[in-house]
Assembly symmetry: C2
Homo-oligomer: 219 residues x 2
């Protein structure tokens, strides 16, 4: 059984749906992949301690183990889970798989950067740098969302069917705290709502909230 | 034959090795994959025009076509080229492939964000926000490089052999303009030098400089 490393006791400003461990949980719930959670106590900064750094030297969350095999990077974990289940991911070496890769990287390297940095400015809204930088980041984020909106059109998902790429893009869209920013893009709003309405998303959020398997791993 | 969309006539402040079209060119040169270049004239902002947005609605560079098939996101293009050539990428659905994915996403989503944002502050060094923000970003970048340094140790490449993940990480390290920042991490410096010494890297830079295939596609 795989073990997903997730944080609990995160600081109050940090919304649960912002923490990237949600990505692996969501993929596992979509695929019906059994998992246990190894909790890292964020209030004790356990994600920065040597024990966790032996799993993920970057100290970022999440990481995953499968027996002796260690893996970090949320998107690699999503791919591993979907590939292992043979679900929600196109067959290797097909054009559809290339498009899946495209959307995974677009979520994390084209949409996330301006959207995440904008969230950081909101969290630091009294800082001079944040006030000066926010308008530029908002414009960048808006342009990326406009392009995403156009590509989504009336599509339900990024590919023809729901996939791991939607897990990543859906969680990235969670970083948007400005309702007017996302609200200007009707297809993106509908897409995000469609993803958040999935039962597996609700189960992942519940698991992340500590309701599931928390007793399986001692702290 | 694949077509790679690259920019020329980029503004003087933009170093050639910073432009992400280098990633696809480098992968193609490593794999011996024939390609033509479709040049986008950056001085005319052609990457923002409708013709290019029909290939990549985000307007980011690079994109790729293979006949009627269109693909954007540099990392997806690197995967497509390596998968197509059966070179520099582990077999699908193996632990080694999961580690390849891990390193591709680590390059673009863990190392690139602080390193790239730090570069932006250097380009805006007279702005108040840049002066205020740079120390935090430098600390984040330094922590990520320290972890990378530890993981590299005496290894030549991220995986046991050179792979597309090294193309991505190598280009990301190009964003570091502060010699002291990278200089503090000897394994990272040696790794970066090792990558830049590859003949395929030199050929990619030369191609990007407009020396190759420029006449194959009319503007």
């Amino acid at each position: 059984m795989i073990t997903l490393y997730c944080t609990r006791n995160t600081p109050p400003f940090l919304r649960a749906e912002w923490v990237r461990d949600l990505r692996g949980l969501w993929a596992a719930e979509e695929c019906g992949t059994p998992y246990r959670i190894h909790w890292l106590d964020a209030s004790k900064s356990e994600q920065r301690e040597a024990a966790y750094k032996s799993v993920n030297p970057f100290g970022t969350v999440p990481a995953m183990t499968d027996g002796a095999f260690k893996l970090f990077e949320s998107a690699a974990i999503v791919n591993y889970i979907c590939d292992g289940a043979g679900q929600h991911i196109p067959a290797p070496r097909t054009q559809e798989r290339a498009l899946y890769d495209q959307w995974c990287f677009a979520a994390l390297n084209t949409v996330e950067p301006p959207v995440f940095q904008l969230m950081i400015t909101v969290l630091n809204k009294d800082a001079a740098w944040a006030k000066e930088r926010a308008p530029v980041l908002r414009e960048q984020a808006n342009a990326r969302l406009a392009a995403l909106d156009q590509m989504l059109g009336g599509r339900a998902f990024l590919l023809d069917a729901f996939s791991g790429a939607d897990v990543l893009m859906g969680q990235v869209l969670n970083f948007i705290v400005d309702a007017a920013l996302i609200g200007a893009h009707a297809n993106v709003v509908a897409y995000h709502q469609r993803l958040k309405a999935r039962p597996a998303y609700a189960r992942a959020l519940a698991a992340q909230a500590g309701g599931k398997n928390a007793s399986l791993e001692a702290q």
